[in-house]
């Protein structure tokens, strides 16, 4: 496997909607087999960024390259499955394989084996035959991850997979994603509003604020100087008990004039 090579590269990608600019000159690269956290504390465009990577949103400027990624696996944000939906966990995983195909699905031994394999990989065998609508949030995430993984993508995108989960489920999903990344060599890009649950598994971070991004190894990005430059006003980064707190002093504080090593466009 070729490690250390760029799988995903964004070069000054901007996305402008008629009423506002959502992303401004976002540049970062994600290496093959690495675990990347896309941190967006106040919802400034992570879903737009993920949609751009998926190809649903064309950049208004800049270039985006995914090298050789035949299939991108995607776990969307907060899906509400109705308990009346007569779809079992294994049905949803199978739809990950052939849900886009026309014609009736005919069961095959190979398909069943592949679905079972995926259910085992995400520890979902215990509830494989239950309706997805009856599963807990963490269990539904596992099934959705299996749904996205069954086509063996090179890149797995997840939009806020940790939102609305209890602490134990968060730890379990993070461990599962770490395993998917390290054991199967799949590049994982996870969006989250809080970086703390991901600190143990992240190889790199993309920090979004005001539609702009700072990226690199976590320790280099999550610093007072870098985040202050990104936000355009003073930010305190405080480390307590292995957790990181990002505290804003507020936009009324003196704006910064120092030039930092990341390039940040003029504050609008």
């Amino acid at each position: 496997m070729e490690t250390g090579q760029e799988l995903l590269a964004l070069d000054r990608v901007s996305v402008t909607f008629p009423d506002r600019q959502v992303l401004t000159e976002v540049s970062f690269t994600v290496n093959r087999g690495s675990f990347c956290g896309l941190i967006d504390a106040n919802g400034s465009g992570k879903t737009t960024l993920l949609r751009t990577i998926l190809g649903f949103q064309a950049p208004s400027a800049g270039r985006l390259r995914i090298s050789g990624a035949r299939a991108v696996g995607y776990v969307p944000q907060k899906i509400q499955f109705d308990a009346d939906m007569p779809v079992r966990a294994r049905d949803l995983v199978a739809l990950g394989l052939d849900g886009h195909r026309l014609g009736l699905p005919f069961p095959s031994r190979a398909k069943t084996r592949l679905v079972d394999e995926m259910l085992t990989a995400v520890d979902a065998t215990g509830f494989a035959d239950q309706r997805v609508g009856n599963l807990s949030g963490g269990q539904q995430q596992r099934v959705l991850i299996a749904h996205a993984l069954i086509r063996r993508p090179k890149l797995l995108l997840l939009d806020e997979p940790l939102a609305n989960l209890d602490i134990r489920a968060v730890a379990e999903i993070v461990a599962l994603l770490g395993r998917v990344c390290k054991a199967h060599g799949i590049t994982v890009l996870v969006s989250a509003h809080d970086m703390n649950p991901l600190l143990g598994v992240m190889d790199q971070i993309v920090y979004l604020a005001n539609g702009r991004a700072a990226s690199g190894p976590t320790a280099e990005v999550v610093r007072t100087e870098v985040l202050s430059a990104l936000y355009g006003y003073h930010i305190d980064v405080i480390k307590v008990h292995g957790r990181v707190l990002v505290i804003a002093a507020g936009p009324d504080e003196l704006p910064l004039h120092e030039d930092h090593h990341i390039h940040v466009a003029a504050v609008p």
Binding site: L54, L95, G99, L135, H147
Partner: protein, 282 residues
Amino acid sequence: MLFEPGFFASDPVQTALIIGGGAAVVSGVAGVFTVLRGQSFAGHALADVSSAGGSAAFLFGINPLLGFLGMAVLAAGAMDLVGVRRAQERDLVTGIVLGAGLGLTALFLYLDVTTHSTTGAAISVMFGSMFAIPPSLIAPALAVGAAALLVVGLIYRPLLLCSLDPSLADVRGVNVRAVGLLHLLVLSMAVTLSAMTIGAILSTALLIGPAAAALRLAHQPVAAILLAIAIGLAATWGGILLAYDSYDWTPGHGWPVSFCIVTIIFAVYLCTGLAPRPRARA
């Protein structure tokens, strides 16, 4: 006696059994997806609007199947064109289309009554008259039913994925809007068949009732569809039998077929409510 003499030999009964059966099968299939997609109200609206076509067909003496189907497809197209995403707005548009359709029905039925000096059209269009269906409609009705089943068979997996969550389908390259439009088309064909049999107003019962009952019992999609078909067929054929036999219970007049069918569906739905439902989160 369960099967009164002449039940199977009677031509009107045979026609009712065949077209009613077709309506039950297509409604079962379309109904499951309609309930899953939360479009029961849209289904009812399509049926109501189709009654404008049915009453116009009666007025101008054209094939009622074409009348019902034409108006239902037009209404489905109108709903898709408006293309609203928010559920509340969708209900609003559906309600307005429904109202406009029923307004036209009122006009055509009024003209039917005044020009043909008969009140039969109103009852027939709105509440059905299964024993009065001309046998010449069997072939076109079965063709419409077969076309609907063909479309569902073709888009089964993308439709299921869209019904689960549109974003899951989107990312797999499924054209979510096209799938939604095809589903509305299938829905139009289903309500056309049931409007012709149990009437436009009551067609919702055949569309939603068996599907809702099946969804309470079945745990996988194919099982839910087969169960909905079975419940729909049992209710339709049972209702026809009941109505036929009822001529002997109340001499001089029988009970309306539509009433018998809808009552059986309602009873089945109530019974499924007694079945244990694994609703609790695991």
